[in-house]
Amino acid sequence: MKGYYEYLSCLLELVTAVRDTQGPAIEEAADLIAEAIGKGHMVHFWGPGGHSSLFAEDVLYREGELALINPILDPDISLANGALKEINYYERIPEIGRAVMRSNDIKPGDIMVIGSAYGVNPVCIEGAMESKRMGATLVTITSPYFSDALDNDNTKHSNGKSLYELADININSQVPYDDLTLEMEGFPQKYGPVGTILQLLTLKALTTTVITKLIKAGGEVPVWRNALEQGGPEFNERYMNQIWPVAKAL
């Protein structure tokens, strides 16, 4: 075994599974999002927990991505301010989930897109419920394969729910239990995680479908230009004014 070859081959299979099985869910979610945008509602993105925080970051002010959206980044639910603290402690405090939602301008009619590979931590579950209480429609990207197989009440919300169960629409990112794809005889630990990559590419599969639909529908489709190219930041200014300060992470 080489490592990279087996890992990438495994990933290819899983990516193909996303492409070939999640079409209907992606289309349905994309229709919902496109409709909400058309009606002037906000679309929020959140990755509650550890590596999940990359979820929102990857659609934050990125060229080729939707501009008028609110990718939510929270200092507690992020590895940037202390990974051990976040994964072992903070993401198990449900009230933080509520605080994160309440510190964002979420209105009835908005869409909340929550991405969590494992879909179980208390912050994720409580936050998802809170967003629905605030009137948002919940689209999720998560893997029931993982949440259903996890047998540890200590790491779940007290209500025992998994993210996909709360969703109005769920897109299955195909993350296998236990996320790890490689093993070698004699070594006790599996390795080669695929969770973050599958979550991110499933998210991109969704956003590209939304943009495609919006372009087909006609009219202006607010998408960021590359800030590194000449004229990029100046072009993006027109959207900055519209999205400030709702998109706090900007």
Binding site: S103, N104, D105, W244, P245
Partner: protein
């Protein structure tokens, strides 16, 4: 009380007296701020440098404080992200421009900026004052001249131009920072202890707030003063005031 604590206490009391004595400058600032609020213009407050950030935090969403301050709390100079790192950032010429851009300062005419920096010499502070001036933003500084005189030109803590904050702003409120910041000598130690700059900065900001409340009443506007969220009835009292500002002040929510 030990003689050192007593000395510290007397020193702080003396500084507060001196700052309170800056009545003319404080009232001038209060007038500018009250008028800006009356005209619905943004009033920003920034502490460009490590501990200076505390003066901005002091007035953000504080019980008994005014709510309309647009607190600029830059992560790069905040001590929580590394105290020594913060020092490197505050010494980066040009950095302030990005911060002002990120907080969209000077987008409208008639905006006001309070710059709190007791020492008044670091590159971020000087750039903030000059860039605000370029953008037509009225500048009010809470600063002093003691470090201006102490730190020679060309010192690495200074802006390349060697300018001092108190000299380049529209209104200068002297917070009387003692030379070296610390005022207590302990026998057996050459280096002084007992820091004063946070007291000076925060006291000055609260004095400005008080005089601004008075001036607002004189101008016929209701000062947006909030109650503690911990008091019974606090949240309810604050809601109407908060609703007005929540969409405009980045760090309020």
């Amino acid at each position: 009380m030990s003689k050192e604590i007593s000395g510290y206490k007397e020193g702080i009391k003396n500084l507060l007296d001196l700052i309170a004595g800056e009545e003319e400058a404080i009232q001038q600032a209060a007038d500018v701020i009250a008028r800006a609020v009356k005209d619905d213009k943004m009033v920003h407050v920034i502490g460009p440098g490590g501990h200076s950030n505390m003066a901005v935090e002091e007035v953000l969403w504080r019980a008994g404080g005014l709510l309309m301050w647009n607190a600029i709390l830059d992560a790069g100079t905040n001590l929580i992200h590394g105290a020594k790192r913060s020092n490197l950032i505050e010494r980066t010429p040009g950095y302030a421009i990005s911060v002002l851009d990120a907080y969209r300062v000077g987008q409208q005419p008639g905006e006001v900026m309070i710059i709190v920096n007791a020492y008044g010499i670091n590159p971020m502070t000087i750039d903030t004052a000059e860039e605000c001036r370029r953008r037509g933003v009225t500048t009010i500084a809470v600063t002093s001249s003691s470090f201006a005189k102490l730190v020679p030109a060309g010192h690495k803590a200074r802006h390349p131009s060697g300018k001092n904050l108190y000299e380049i702003v529209d209104i200068y409120i002297d917070n009387h920072l003692p030379e070296g910041d610390a005022i207590v000598t302990v026998e057996g130690m050459d280096t002084k202890t007992g820091s004063t700059s946070t007291f000076c900065n925060c006291f000055a900001m609260n004095c400005i707030s008080i005089e601004t409340v008075k001036r607002m009443l004189e101008l016929g506007i209701t000062p947006p003063v909030i109650m503690s969220a911990n008091m019974p009835g606090g949240d309810e009292h604050n809601k109407a005031i908060e609703d007005k500002y929540i969409g405009r002040i980045k760090h309020l929510m």
